[in-house]
Symmetry: C2
């Protein structure tokens, strides 16, 4: 159960008086979520999610909440932060930064089909296109600077072969040039559990994209690589060609990949694997004090990184 901060219905009722969303009907804690405390909140006017932020500060949250508002305003089915009576997207509750967002329907799927991957690719391209007009500039918080800080911390815990792999990959990645690649706000964490689907007749419908709290401005291709490395792999971590083609094809029809992106693709799939290997190593060996979550196995992304170093998947 990931409700770190308990708030009572009475506290929430009072807090909602600063909004135009009606009165509290019922609320319940949400078990999922690693970084924040979330409650489903039903009011007389609709269904919302209340998020209390445990890690991020009000200053950092501006980029995320305004990005979600921007994307929702452009028709992307992401949670839309609701403005309060002073038109602020961020408030405070129980001493934590807090926000109310619209609740989306649908549920995550654990075993995606090529059809699901096609929908995800289409959505990702639409999100990148809609993001172009967003003014926020915060860089990817898990980008190269963060790799540089984190690698020395975790290397001490690694056996020689893994330490060598990490050092070799970092050296390779720092030799890459990304200046010519299209950039913009990216989700940067578009894993299966952050996308909601509903079945409407025979066709699955993508109904929601969640959890923008690792978003930042970076190369759009990095976002595609993160997504492929989760949505289009088999049990061993190998890329499944038919799902990858479905995702990349749907993306490419909406935003054509540039020649420099085709060239950068193999290195980018490695960078996307490296980023999650590093963060999982960090969560595993250097948990923050009081952290309650179960760290994911870092080996999953070590294996994916090894596979991407030896085998190339085309960007189409």
């Amino acid at each position: 159960m990931s409700v770190f901060t308990k708030v009572s219905p009475h506290q929430v009722s009072l807090w909602l008086e600063n909004y135009a969303v009606g009165e509290l009907v019922e609320m319940s804690g949400i078990a999922a979520g690693i970084e924040n405390t979330n409650y489903f909140v039903t009011t007389s006017q609709g269904e919302f999610v209340l998020t209390l932020f445990e890690r991020l500060t009000a200053a950092e949250l501006g980029f995320y909440l305004n990005l979600m508002a921007h994307l929702a305003h452009h028709g992307i089915p992401c949670p839309a932060p609701v403005a309060d009576r002073q038109s602020a997207l961020l408030g405070a509750l129980a001493g934590k930064p807090a926000t109310l967002v619209t609740r989306l329907s649908g549920a995550p799927i654990s075993r995606p089909t090529a059809q699901n991957c096609e929908a995800v690719g289409a959505m990702l391209a639409q999100m990148h296109l809609a993001g172009r007009s967003y003014a926020g500039t915060q860089e990817n918080p898990r980008g190269a600077n963060w790799w540089r800080e984190t690698a020395p911390k975790v290397t001490a815990f690694l056996d020689p072969s893994r330490a060598a792999l990490l050092a070799s990959e970092l050296e390779f990645q720092f030799g890459q040039r990304a200046e010519s690649l299209p950039r913009g706000p990216i989700h940067a964490d578009l894993f299966r559990d952050n996308v909601l689907f509903e079945s409407a007749g025979e066709a699955p419908r993508l109904r929601g994209v969640l959890d923008f709290y690792f978003a930042g401005v970076d190369t759009l291709l990095f976002d595609v690589a993160v997504t492929i490395n989760d949505w289009c792999i088999d049990d061993r971590g190998e890329i499944d060609a038919s799902r990858a083609q479905a995702l990349l094809g749907a993306y490419g029809r909406r935003r054509e990949f540039s020649p420099s992106e085709h060239e950068a693709w193999p290195a980018m799939l490695r960078a996307a694997a490296l980023r999650f290997w590093l963060s999982r190593l960090d969560d595993f060996y250097c948990p923050r004090p009081g952290e309650l979550t179960h760290a994911h196995d870092p080996e999953h992304f070590r294996r994916i990184l090894e596979l991407r170093r030896t085998k190339v998947c085309p960007l189409r």
Copy 2:
């Protein structure tokens, strides 16, 4: 069938390329609607309504679309205009100003209960409170200036008793002072067919408020009076006390009525009846060229006006 301007799926598909809402899956014309052409549009990402404006100009539409965006952003369940890739809320299609808005669930109800009226009162107060931070300033397009223009046009068609009633009521209304009444953006047309309800268990849930194309800045109390005159009347046009109390009570708990509003209430109920008697007379006797709609019977609001002149309903 109120589809005045026909557009093909091919036209809509091309038009949607300027949005981040996915590809057209299907579309169908909407029969309801007097002033605009509306289509339900299903895309790979969601459900929308495409509106082509037959009467309003791009210049006038800015106030309405930005108001709807403002209210939706504050959690009011009204259609949210979707921004295109240039972040514009208004485009053009088939030579008409056109917009894409989110589609709401639920359906209008023709015989409201006190519970429905309570929900409408709560929503109206929330809308007025959320509207306070809206910057648009367009005045109510069917306010006193419009009465002044319209009355002479229709008086020629009226029998002496009705002409006398109209003259008498206008004289009375022009003698009223509204300076001390709270003002803000009002819906100004919150009739039963502009509110969507869904049944969730035993309680009806208000799911949508539609059709802001008569909105404007005016006294908030006028909006309350328009709403009471439609939601809380019996078959003869008399105010039903239990429904009126449910609506006014729910409203007043969220935004307390001021002493000047209590004083102005009887005249405001008459003003709200006059406004719709006048517009129905105008639609009936002076239809615009090419107008295809069935004009409503003006007598309905003539009777309501007569009733409000003789019998006072308390503002609570």
